[in-house]
Amino acid sequence: MFEIAEAPPATRLMLRGAPEVAARAGAAFGVVPPLEPCRANQAGERAALWLGPDEWLLLAPSDADATKLAAALEGLVHSLVDVSDGTEALLLHGAGAALALSAGCPLDLHPDAFPPGMATRTVLGRIGITLWRRGAADWWVEVARSQAAYARAFLAEAGRGW
């Protein structure tokens, strides 16, 4: 019905600040942090997820991006914090992934309501997650490192019996 894979370790940066911070970060990072709520912009292995009006999660393959970004943002009021090891990403692939997620996530995951390119903080059962739909049947689930085992077990259980 669907597969769960673990994403390779990534650099995760939590960026906070005004829209001009997003604009300048975008130029340095290669992906513009979206100003539209609950959207994710993606280019290759880099992505920027809108999590709040002044809050973005930036995903990149290496920590060289952090240094580059910090330099580019010098002089602008902002907060850039490395949170790379705080979460893991579970990659869900398959037509049944949305149903399994809906076992613990109360949001409407129909493509009309949660289209590809949408991302948001939400819950999965008893834990908080950041959920990003990368494609019709592809999901990126950011989950706290200590709760990843729960998330995997929860999703596997939710996918049984269909």
């Binding site: 370790p9 939590m14 906070r16 600040g17 002044d54 809050e55 009021v77 902002h78 907060s79 850039l80 914090v81 490395d82 949170v83 790379s84 090891d85 705080g86 979460t87 149903l99 809906s102 076992a103 996530c105 109360p106 949001l107 409407d108 129909h110 009309d112 309501a113 059962g125 008893r126 834990i127 706290a144 490192r145 200590s146 709760q147 085992a149 729960y150 077990a153 929860f154 259980e157 939710a158 049984r160 019996g161």
Partner: protein, 1005 residues
């Protein structure tokens, strides 16, 4: 009317034991053709140990009836023999336990909803030792002693007699309740899902299907659910009418096929919409495996669906009302509509010679269909003065005798089955026994407004038919079909289609049933039951009203009418009518009882879903969990975290291990996993101002590269959390919180940032799980670390309370000179992925230095020896910083809680203050939580001076130590007080709370 046990035993062999020369006898009451069952598949099942045959598509009820079995249970209070009354969810009597082995026992299932499968094992309930020979039926002899409110009255008996405890409670407890819960854990799996749709249609009868078709054709995301195995509702037993020119059943098949072909429509059979909740949420319980002989272990037994629907369309139908007459509860007395459904849907004749009693035209449909099937319909007794509608006329035309203005005056039981009824005519006193084996009754139909009312929709009284219909609905909810008062197929289909703006199907060939009021004989007495399941008679209702229970909610509670597992689906309207008559009040003035979910019982497992065992709550482990396991750690639960409590070596118990860990750390070095500490990165030009307002300590003056202990107060001035502020840069702090306070402190900070001080340019980011924390503590801590560190960590370069980014074993780390042990201490923060490598680098060096790994228990002792508090142990939400001996720095500005600290009560000299306690006996470790008093033998009522907050054996002092909160404690240093315990009073001396190295020399080396 109960036969002797011996007689009943004979009946058992004659009638129920279907085995004949080793073969099962064929069903005696199945029609030759018709119905929707698969006659070619024989399904063997057992009921109370006797084997029977049924057909594919049967319910347990239809299969039992096909075998001529009517007696299926005993009533709750009087243990009267009871039979199947209904054909659906409303069944009050036929409750059975289905046993599947291995803890798979489900009590209180309605036989009308249990689908037959090969090998089904069902048992009747509420009888002992057997259904036929039930000693509990002797209770019926005491019926005059068990009036309405029996439970309450016996409880009110004179004190001292002990009648309740000795006599009644054991009796009632044994007799009370239906069925028996299994004693072993439920081995089945259950699942829960959320779902969303534009239109949720509850009920797949004609109205619901028309609504789903209209919604689906319009492109709406639609869910159509139905509690039965087969969608169709009344259409499943409709054989005469044409819809859009084709037979109704064919229209049903076509409609279901069309719905199945729509990808945005989901039809869910075996799925009960059991509750309507706020914001258009509907709870659905889907039965997945109960009907299967051999379910796949992968499949959950049931699924709970929490559906958010833009529109909720309720097409839940109507429930037929029984008549209230003496003996109306005999096996063989059942609802006329149910009898017709058994015939047309399952091909089962509920009797060979039937009498029908009705106050409603629809019963004539049963009369006509049964007569057509060859059943002798001996008489239709119409309780109305005249019976002249099209249906009664059709019955007369078919040669069925109709007695208008008749009455049912009694019934007679032979063995386990009705054998005759006593009928009368009007008030002329003439009466006559009629021989029959089934009495079918109809007192009109009660619209199933349960979900509408649960959603807080209003009800309106419709006097002409004596029903409550949906009034003003909750937003987004509408009712269609029979639950909205539709009385025939055409009306149901029209309402359904209209709900979705669809074309209205054309119906032909349906003889209309004229509406009329329900019949209530206000004076009916004796064994005239209103609520079958809870044995409530008309007498009880009148008595409750006579005793002053006037509100219907009170009548319900006093009589227990409507309190059964069926929630009074069949009985409530009769109860209401009788109560209204007894009060002389119109029914609408009395109102209805509250409709509460669930509509039908839902398994606890379904509600719990997967949240049990390991999945009940997430188990959080640190990045060093595997290392701790390898070291042989014993873990403790700290919230959701598993933390290493101690590391026993061979032969060590906890006390020995902790003493060794503490002593070794003080003598050499210790390694401790502190990763669960909460961590928040506070960044922005105003970060220092922000923290200065949140903590009572001076943060603004902290220099970059330095750390400071911080205490956070609530607005009331009480200690809420503590931690270390490490200033990494002028605009960047690494703030730690307690393990348990991490989420709460971040939320508290965000609250103030967003709502109180939005002008501050500062942001908060949780880094709790990004950083693993390895604490290296002890006089040789630096020796352990130094060779691994690229940089100078000497006391001069990295003094106590300094912070620096350094590489340790090649790993980028945030190194802090902080100590929760009182020793020279380093806390190495490393990105979580590197934590195991860092541990592996440090572990041999710790060993080489003669050190140890230690757990949370040793950590507690180390800090207690130093008098360091733990929030939540030394504090309980009523402790001020002053109570703990903490002063506010001079020049410190305003901060949360400061104003409260100025209140006189907060400055009182007799507040409980943190002190140390040394027991007279140095080997005795006080109990945490023990109270402290001034006298060794305090008289009862003596007010405690304080209590023990922490207590350990201190390896450093070679004796026990304790921390305590004590009234005016600091002034009492040196006083001798007492800790009174059950085994005797313990003398203690009040001491300063710092037991070791009060000057802190060991920290700074």
């Amino acid at each position: 009317m109960i036969g002797s046990p011996r007689h009943e035993g004979m009946m058992q062999r004659l009638l129920v034991g279907r085995m004949f020369q080793g073969r099962l006898l064929p069903e005696s009451m199945r029609t030759a053709d018709g119905g929707r069952v698969e006659r070619r598949t024989d399904i063997r099942f057992s009921f109370d140990g006797a084997d029977y045959l049924g057909c594919g598509g049967d319910t347990l009820a239809s299969a039992l009836l096909a075998n001529g079995v009517h007696l299926v249970g005993r009533s709750m209070k009087y243990h009267r023999p009871r039979g199947i009354v209904a054909a659906g969810a409303e069944e009050p009597n036929a409750l059975v336990a289905v046993v599947r082995g291995g803890g798979r026992t489900t009590p209180n299932l309605r036989a009308t909803q249990v689908e037959l499968f090969e090998g089904l094992e069902a048992h009747s309930q509420n009888r002992w030792p057997s259904l036929n020979t039930d000693l509990g039926a002797l209770v019926a002899l005491a019926a005059p002693l068990l009036p309405a409110g029996f439970y309450y009255k016996t409880m009110m008996g004179p004190r001292g007699l002990g009648l309740w405890h000795r006599v009644f409670e054991p009796l009632v407890r044994r007799a009370a309740g239906l069925g028996r819960a299994p004693r072993v854990a439920d081995p089945d799996r259950y699942a829960r899902y959320y779902a969303h749709c534009d239109v949720l249609v509850a009920g797949a009868g004609p109205a619901g299907i028309a609504a789903a078709l209209a919604a689906g054709r319009g492109g709406a995301r639609t869910i159509l659910c139905d509690e039965q195995a087969e969608p169709g509702g009344a259409l499943l037993s409709e054989i005469a009418a044409l819809i859009d020119g084709i037979p109704a059943r064919e229209w049903l098949a076509q409609s279901l096929a069309e719905l199945a072909a729509m990808p945005h429509v989901r039809v869910m059979p075996r799925t009960t919409a059991f509750g309507c909740y706020p914001h258009n949420m509907v709870g659905l319980a889907e039965r997945v495996t109960d009907h299967l002989a051999a379910p796949s272990p992968d499949q959950p037994r049931e699924r709970l669906w929490r559906v958010r629907a833009r529109r909720i369309v309720l097409a839940t139908g109507a429930i037929e009302r029984p008549l209230v007459f003496p003996g109306n509860d005999r096996p063989g007395v059942m609802l006329a509509g149910a009898a017709r459904e058994y015939l047309l849907r399952w091909g089962v004749k509920v009797g060979s010679r039937v009498v029908i009693a009705t106050a409603c035209d629809t019963a004539y449909r049963a009369a006509l269909d049964l007569a057509t099937a060859g059943v002798a319909v001996k008489l239709v007794v119409d309780l109305r003065a005249a019976a002249d509608g099209p249906l009664p006329q059709a019955a007369r035309a078919a040669g069925i005798a109709v007695l208008a203005g008749g009455r049912v005056l009694g019934t007679h039981l032979r063995g386990k089955r009705l054998d005759s009824v006593l009928l009368g005519r009007g008030d002329d006193g003439r009466r006559r026994w009629f021989d029959c084996d089934a009495l079918l009754m109809c007192n009109g139909w009660t619209p199933a407004v349960h979900l509408h009312a649960q959603a807080r929709g209003a009800l309106r009284w419709e006097g002409e038919r004596g029903v409550f219909l949906p009034g003003e609905p909750a937003p987004g909810v509408e009712s269609i079909g029979a639950c909205n008062g539709a009385t025939d197929l055409a009306m149901a289909l029209a309402q359904g289609a209209a709900s979705g703006g669809g074309a209205v199907p054309v119906v032909e060939g349906e003889v209309p049933a004229l509406p009329g009021p329900a019949h209530v004989d206000a004076a009916v007495a004796g064994d005239a039951f209103v609520d079958f399941q809870n044995d409530v008679r008309a007498d009880d209702v009148r008595q409750a009203v006579a005793e002053g229970f006037h509100a219907i909610e009170h009548v319900k509670r006093y009589t227990a009418g409507g309190l059964g597992t069926d929630q009074g689906k069949t009985g409530n309207m009769n109860l209401l009518a009788l109560a209204a008559a007894a009060r002389g009040t119109p029914i609408p003035e009395l109102g209805t009882t509250t409709f509460r979910p669930p509509y039908t019982p839902v398994s606890f497992g379904t509600l719990a879903g997967p949240a049990r065992g390991e999945m009940f709550d997430p188990v959080r482990t640190t990045p060093l969990h595997a290392q701790a396991v390898a070291e042989g750690a014993v873990f403790e639960d700290v919230g959701q975290w598993k933390r290493a409590r101690y590391f026993p070596q061979a032969g060590e118990d906890m006390h020995a291990a902790v003493r060794r860990e503490v002593a070794t750390t003080r003598a050499a070095a210790g390694l401790f996993d502190a990763s669960t500490l909460g961590k928040i990165e506070v960044v922005g030009p105003d970060a220092a101002i922000f923290l200065d307002r949140l903590y009572l300590n001076a943060i603004a003056t902290l220099k970059p590269g330095r750390c400071r202990y911080g205490v956070m107060l609530s607005e009331a001035g009480f200690v809420m959390d503590d931690g270390v502020m490490a200033r990494l840069a002028p605009d960047r702090f690494h703030v730690t919180t307690t393990t348990s306070g991490a989420a709460h402190v971040l939320a508290h900070m965000e609250d103030y940032r967003q709502t109180e001080w939005p002008e501050l340019r500062v942001w908060l980011t949780s880094t709790t799980e990004h950083w693993a924390v390895l604490a290296v503590q002890g006089p040789r801590a630096r020796d352990v670390l130094a060779p691994l560190v690229a940089g100078d960590i000497s006391a001069a370069a990295l003094p106590h309370m300094a912070v620096r980014d350094l590489k340790v074993a090649g790993i980028p780390a945030r190194m802090m000179r902080v100590s929760f042990s009182g020793e020279q201490g380093f806390e190495v923060n490393a990105p979580a992925r590197h934590a195991p490598a860092l541990w592996d680098a440090l572990r041999p060096r710790i060993a080489a230095a003669g050190g140890t790994v230690y757990g949370t228990e040793a950590m507690h002792v180390l800090r207690a020896e130093k008098g360091y508090i733990i929030v939540g142990q030394e504090t309980d939400g009523t402790v001020t910083p002053g109570d703990l001996g903490m002063a506010i720095g001079r020049g410190k500005g305003d901060f949360i809680g400061r104003r409260s600290l100025a209140r006189p009560d907060m400055l009182a000299a007799d507040r409980r203050q943190l002190v140390g306690l040394l027991s007279d006996d140095p080997a005795l470790v006080l109990e945490e939580g023990a109270q402290i008093v001034a006298q060794s033998a305090p008289p009862p009522g003596t007010k405690a001076l304080g209590h023990v907050t922490s207590s350990y054996f201190s390896p450093a002092l070679g004796r026990s130590i304790a921390l305590a909160l004590l009234a005016g404690g600091r002034e009492r240093t040196g006083e001798r007080l007492f800790v009174p315990l059950a085994r005797g009073s313990i003398g203690v001396a009040v001491a300063a709370p710092v037991f070791l190295d009060p000057q802190g020399g060991r920290l700074h080396v």
